[in-house]
Symmetry: D4
Subunit: 250 residues, 8 copies
């Protein structure tokens, strides 16, 4: 453990008092004033840094990404508007951007080969932006992703036709708006965790995604948990964690 | 039409002025003070009288049912407590009672033979009291009823094994709590109206049945409508109406 | 039944193993990647395909409709924006469009003569777009529709003046915002199913249609069920189903 | 005005400084510590004191009522439990009590003859406790009250048969649970204020009276306002005020 | 009564059968198809016609107002947008318009002299549009109106300074957003009905006016009732009714 | 794959037509009428059967558990009341019961040795019943479980003192009521999935667990998903799945 | 700072390596397994320990309080049921208990003399239990408390008569249910912080205290903040903190 | 006291009757018609006037600020739009404006030197506009403010690194959206009041800030109270009051 190492070095005279104090107090983040960049997250969480873009000015975003780039570490930005991305590019950031998922990805070197499998399913075509955010997040964090879109429960045979392929995955992401029943049906058919993402697709008594959120929370199928409405990123991250875990001890 | 008949009789001297006035103003109900009994409902709605029992005193209930019995017409009481029923029986009403559905049924003569078919499905075993209220209501109003209980979406094969039988019905009632997805899956598989009944079975974010209610309202399957939480009676009545309609023009 | 036919043919050598496997696994839909088109719905549900347009790109919509046109089958698109429709037409789809109901209808051959009757009633003039979506949906699926607009309960004589005509229908659709009491009054006066559609017409404590939705769910009149807020399509489809059922056994 | 009278008397030597200070600072209430009794309310509001009984101990209630009795003024207690009333009586208060409305009424002398007319209508029989609270409150504050119970909108003819009598009132109270549409229909038929009282009668999506509350707030009929769920007292008080106002300038 | 008069004339030969039928069935409204104009409302309700403008097309509004103008009767339009009014004027309707209250008023002859008094109070300056809708509605229906704006409870002395003037009114309208406590304080200080109007002024946990709505419904002051959020019209109408009632028997 | 195996056997004469039909149609569940027991779940989901006890009669529960026992397979009953368990035992079921977690566990043979690690943390002592349901569920399905109770965020040092131990787990369960912030802090400190369980511990604006539910859904920490309020079982099941997955490929 | 002191002692040989490690890792709490007692809270927060009693078994509570008693430090238990307190006393804990506020207080030596002033006001008599919890909490943590009960806004003169006394306090606690307007009026009249406590006193649209909670959050008076519904303890603690702060620098 | 002074002067002939009446009735505010300016607030509340800008016309705002300027007193305007400020400046008001916090500040003379310390912390960068409103409000009312931004609980070490500095403040403001857990963690670590501000930063089940609002209300940490969503002003004002109080008795 780090603490004992430092204390031994101090006792043995290999470290000055000042350096010992400093080592035990070294900040685990860089302070930009408006933001505290978390440079130990990769160590602590096992994955790189993630930036939530809404509510940040273009200048703030640029400074954050440049700090990561300067450190040579990958970073993923979520819900990045086209305007924000245009500013980043105009200032030479050199990141990639997908307008459907609104993800901006920064890498200084090629990622390792993906492995393991995550399945991303949607109830309808309109759920695609959220599903892509999930799928590309899982890919950014090292998973192979298979997409199964428009397999909602109102035409259950579409899902049943795909179920064998879905069963190969280490984690399944179920993205659905309206009644949001896809997760329950999936969780009843597979033996791996299902991460359910309610979407705001719908109208009226959907109440901006409240309906599928409640549906998913009340599922009577086992092996499912839920993330926030439209939170494709959160589902993709969690699925990538589970996928990595499945492979870690191989 | 009634109006012209009366006016012609008046003009032709076959009816006195007083009788004409009276005929055009005759009350369509009996007034017990605390209740106005609707003696034209059978003509107007095609089905007999229904009494919502909660909030009525035992004495009020007895007076209401006795008025119907005196008129020789059938009546159905909903959500009747065992205490209310015991009082009715102790006072010689002569009605039947089912403690699961809490329905009390009064008939002075045997009902006509049932016909047509209504299918009542539930997601789980705990939905049975609501389902029985639906089923027995449909039966009271002339339908043959087939029950398919515990066929919820978390084990979709249980429903698929029954689907051919369910497809024979003129109307399908889907009773489900928790995530309430049964209705959507059913409506995607049959070509007749599905009446969905959310139940308060569940806990936590079910919010006393709000979750399945919203699920059912947001269904992306066509051909479904929803009644109030735990309103098995309403679903059974509507299904019986549809069933009668299917048979009316035979 | 299909299964035995295939198995017998296999046993008798009239079918190869590969063909038997294929026959038992044949997809019931065409896979466009972003959408799975349900080519058996007409058989399974009795009505043609329906497309929910919001959230789909113009290119996706066009591909979906062209697949149906190529198959010679009718299709109805709901909540189609003028921009989406303009794109479809600019690409030669040849479908009709109603800007009030926002329905786009595709037919390769003239529909059969309508029959049966559905009555569509509204509480106010502002409910017309939802009512037209209901009415035109019922018409698309074969019903004759009679419109009774602006007959809300605040001037109950307007409704009473129309009630005889409304009673001729096989199903009644009640479209109302604000307090949404139209459905209850109607259900108390007719002997056929009433499909109630709450609308988001109103302000303040209407909470975007929550108020009439709750009103309709809590109706103490029998023979009514409810669809989602502003879901004219759902009501029109269900009423057409009931109307067809009433006529099916003639 | 009081202020000038006191100042003149002081200036003219008819009043000492201490008495002037005291007169301008005299408390308008008696302080029991746990309660401040409002002895000017009858002057300020025109009606006597009202006591909300829930949450008060029996001893507190007794002290409050005895203070009023000692002062010879009438007082009305609302939502008084049978246990609370029994304690009051056991201690010799000498007030009357109605177990349906849960009102306890204290009078030291006979009230003046009632005048004017308030009509109290209910949707159903189960609304009677709230309606009686309204009716007896109006009576306590001087109105003649006519009751029209069980005239809900699901059987609209029951209401229409009574409408001429209802139109004679100076104010109409509409008490209804479930869908709560009675107020709208009444307000469309009379030319005096309608005070609507939603009740918690119902179940499921009634959400303890939220449904009729929203219905009544969203009424498209003019001339109606709403009080809290089950607040029969509030409606009865307001109706009595309007009734008094109608008669005040005779 | 009308019914007997017609019947007698028929019996006595002074009226043909057809005319008798027609007289008893004469429509009480003009049917424009999209709207049923209520030509008996002035008789039935005592006030002229009111038109809710949102959701109606300009052409529909013009037709409605022209029908009233043709009949020589006054009409008031609520929540009329500047665009709608511009269209009406461009087509020569000849109505007046106030952009703050968004009321459009049509009169063919000068109104009778106003009488009685209504007081309109607001918590803050931002509540003025709703308050003006209330005030001008009361004026349209015959009341003299006194405005007391920006007298909210956070500076209670501002209200106390005005209270004597407010006490002269036959009805008091309390318009307030945010915490909405103005109504309670007013109702505790006056002896006439207080009509409370919650407004959507505020942010965050105001939830678009839900907060003051609940405040007002839960008032522990007697003699107050509530209308919908931002419903200045409803309050003005009700206050005018009460004001008229106070004067009717003079 | 099963299908081809059957078809080959039929083609090759090793299987009769009847047996082939039967094999392809064999029911995957036993039908008790009120319940359909899912005998393939262990194969399909990898874990044994789970029974939700509320709403089932004692007789129904006994029949369900006896069917599983007769089949020699393990079963877990959730939310079993002491009364239900007493009935089961009185009828000789031979299952174990924990009154804190309300789990009833049925096993005919000793379970395999547990492996892998799940950490269960709570914000407070009052969350223990839910936490025990989670912990014992994970144990039933094969995991070793470490408990860290009363480490809520209001005394953050208590959690930090435990964090190294928690980091050894394959999955972390965070059980918290009131503000429910435990999950966010944990997810920021570990690199494995956090399954968050909001509890109904609290009062007032907790709204029966809604507050911690929303907190957890809105977490800005990555790698967390949420189950229903008080759903310790669901979290324990999911954590056991993740734990198994982590070990599957060892 | 502690860290440097330990490191210097280690460098200078006055502390062994093991002791240095131990000193830097010493637990700040005692671990009872089901609870982690926070023995540094008095240092960190300046006040003693607080125990939330609901959901804890009698045995757990006793162990927690005995640990504090053994350490000679004061402790306050909130929402303690009479049954819990009886158990504590039966086991010789020697703490005091107030059944109105449900507070149990443990002290091994007399508290220091109180100083500074906190004013506790209520809207009505029924708010007393919550107010007493606030008042006695402030007293436990060293404040002098003055009570002003039943001074709600419906009789504003009762509050105005007390305002000079209230203005002497360092902090004001406003406890109110129903419409909860007391806080706003108070905050407009004093120049010190007002801590507002909504209570669940009320019915119907109070929604268990939601109404006064929203009222208080939306106050347009400055200098007020809000705690949870019925959270008298939280308000009393905060007011005691402010009171101490006002006195700290004397 | 003022009252006795006036009365003595009157008695002693040093004051005329008219002047005595006038002195006891002098208005405490200036009446602009649409607004009542509160010229005694500085005396009563200890701080200058505050103007809520939304919903006021530019002309109204200008008149209000000019009245304060004419009186030589400072004033702070909140939520002032850039358009409103531009109008004020174009008309020569001479106030300062910060576009992030949207505060407009008017001062005729330099403020006294700030003293005491308030700490403003945020969970994320996107909370900055609300945090700046809080910080600048505290500064306007005399406090020194230290900002600690982006120290949310998902990276708890960022907060721990700052905690010693934060502990120096007299009051701490915790600004956080999403899960809003910052307040609880802070309140567990400091011994002064924490004022929590939920923000609308987030999406989905944040429900416009409802989620962090509930989190903060349900905190199990002592010494915290909550203001409205996004109400940075309210928190800054309250913190300034506490800060002043801490310094008042120095």
């Amino acid at each position: 453990m780090q603490l004992e190492v430092v204390l031994k070095a101090l006792r043995d005279g290999r470290l000055s008092l000042e350096d010992a104090v400093s080592a035990l107090k070294r900040p685990a983040f860089e302070d930009l004033g408006f933001a505290k960049l978390d440079f130990q997250r990769e160590q602590r969480k096992g994955f790189g840094e993630v930036v939530y873009c809404p509510g940040k000015t273009c200048e703030q975003l640029l400074a954050i990404f440049e700090a990561f780039r300067g450190d040579g570490r990958p970073a993923l930005g979520t819900r990045c508007s086209p305007e924000q991305y245009a500013f980043l590019q105009a200032n030479g950031l050199g990141a990639s951007y997908d307008p459907v998922s609104r993800l901006v990805a920064l890498r200084s070197e090629p990622p390792p080969a993906p492995r393991g499998l995550v399945a991303v399913c949607t109830g309808g075509t309109a759920d695609m932006p959220v599903a892509e955010e999930a799928a590309q997040t899982s890919e950014f964090f090292g998973a192979i992703v298979q997409r199964h879109y428009d397999v909602g429960v109102a035409g259950i045979h579409r899902l049943l036709a795909r179920i064998e392929a879905i069963r190969q995955a280490n984690a399944v992401i179920a993205v659905a708006g309206m009644e949001g029943a896809l997760g329950s049906v999936l969780a009843g058919l597979v033996d791996v965790p299902v991460v359910a993402v309610p979407t705001s697709v719908g109208y009226g008594a959907s109440f901006e995604g409240l309906a599928p959120l409640l549906t998913m929370l009340n599922s009577c199928a086992e092996g499912m948990a839920v993330v926030n409405i439209d939170n494709g990123f959160g589902a993709g991250y969690l699925a990538a964690q589970i996928n990595r875990l499945a492979g870690r001890r191989q």
